[in-house]
Symmetry: C2
Subunit: 232 residues, 2 copies
DNA sequence: GCAAAAGTGTTCTCGGTACACCCATGC
DNA sequence: GCATGGGTGTACCGAGAACACTTTTGC
């Protein structure tokens, strides 16, 4: 065996931390493993990357197989490559996280899972398979940092939402102890000029109906190019 | 060949974007490749990861072999895994960047390089080997973002430095068009209370000698835990 | 004494924060 | 009519930005 060949004995996988928001708290989608190793344990959805598959494509595939969704926010975080992280050989994994609109999610557990279930992102059991607790912590931290400075929170909400829903989302992501001030939050987010008011209103609620808003991505990008910095 | 075995035919490497600062501008250390593929081209220093080697350890090894330095600031950025990025097989690479004190650097080109040389970080030739231009751009962007919010700039300066040197460093990293205001910069950085004044002064300069300062890492960490946020 | 960089304060503006009451709807 | 969340404005404070001259040294 040539020296070079001895290097080509490794594999890599992708693992995907899928975040959702149910109106109250931030959730993560975990699967119960249907195959060894760690059969029966909770884990992040993931899979080995095919030899002719790009990393990003593999992450999209995992997401698509599990949730049926495509074209959603998906971002690589980092590689985890401890020598002994996988019991059957040298496998490094590339961690991604994605943000989905939880209402779009239909349960269609992929072949690699017995079942999939939403868990509280801020309070996940500590004995996930492999090094998945590490990975989850890192991704959660990254989400918290990034949500503060880029308008990615909207990926977790339905296209039309109320300002209160938006505020609750940010309170959940940033887990602020006492919550944010309603008037200041509205002043700030509206001042950015990246939301558009819909003509519709909330319906069927037992109180004054709220206005619905949409995030205007083009507007945001135009303003961002001119120096607007999203910052909460 | 079993299905699983077909996955274990890949390799991975680390590539290291080594930044330095010479008092005027931000630099990157590139090597001229001594072996195929891309022999003779400029490239980032990097190497295949040994089967029993952690990723971080591999990145440290590359840095050590090239510069003789260890225990320096080193951080993973992300994985690059396009299928065709390496001509001899499926190789994904994990990008790191490190920050070194350029004065400590002694030229000791490792076996994988013909020669190593500092290049202007903000103006690198566009035909580096592999996807190294991509990698470099990503790391440079990451450095710029991170240097604003965490006190990592000090890693690029000698232990004792003047406030003007520190300011020039930040002007180089952030490439601010008109530079920063001297009085405001000093006010802000001193107000953070993370620098300590040395008893010594600059010597041998043809003008009023400047006071020397050191970064106090313990102090910074204590304050950071109490909510200080470094921000320039 | 002159060139070259070090060092130093004040004013103004704007964004962040704290804070309490009336409004529209369903039942 | 009452319970529920929706919606709104003002006053204060502190941080950021703009701005120019005196001081110390080497030659």
């Amino acid at each position: 065996m040539s020296e070079v060949e001895s290097f080509f004995k490794s594999a890599f996988s992708v693992d995907n931390v899928i975040f959702g928001f149910d109106g109250r708290s931030l959730k993560v989608l975990l699967i119960q493993r249907g195959a060894a190793p760690f059969r029966g344990k909770w884990a992040l959805p993931g899979d080995l990357v095919y030899p002719n598959e790009d990393l990003d494509a593999a992450a999209e595939r995992v997401l698509q197989q599990l949730t049926g969704l495509s074209n959603v926010y998906l971002e690589q975080v980092k590689a985890f490559g401890a020598v002994d992280r996988h019991p059957i050989g040298r496998v490094i994994t590339i961690a991604y996280y994605s943000l989905i609109k939880i209402s779009n999610y239909a349960v269609t557990p992929a072949s690699f899972a017995q079942s999939a279930q939403w868990h509280e992102a801020n309070n996940v059991i500590t004995d996930l398979a492999f090094d998945h607790n590490d990975i989850l912590d890192t991704c959660l931290q990254q989400l918290k940092t990034k949500a503060r400075r880029e308008p990615i929170g909207f990926e977790l909400l339905p296209p039309k939402f109320t300002l209160t829903e938006l505020q609750q989302l940010y309170e959940a992501i940033l887990d602020q102890p006492k919550g944010l001030d309603k008037r200041n939050f509205r002043k700030k987010i509206l001042a950015m000029n990246i939301l558009v008011e819909c003509s519709e209103q909330q319906a069927g609620v037992a109180h004054r109906p709220a206005k619905l808003y949409q995030f205007d991505k083009e507007k945001y990008e135009a303003l961002a190019a001119k120096g607007l910095s999203f910052d909460l």
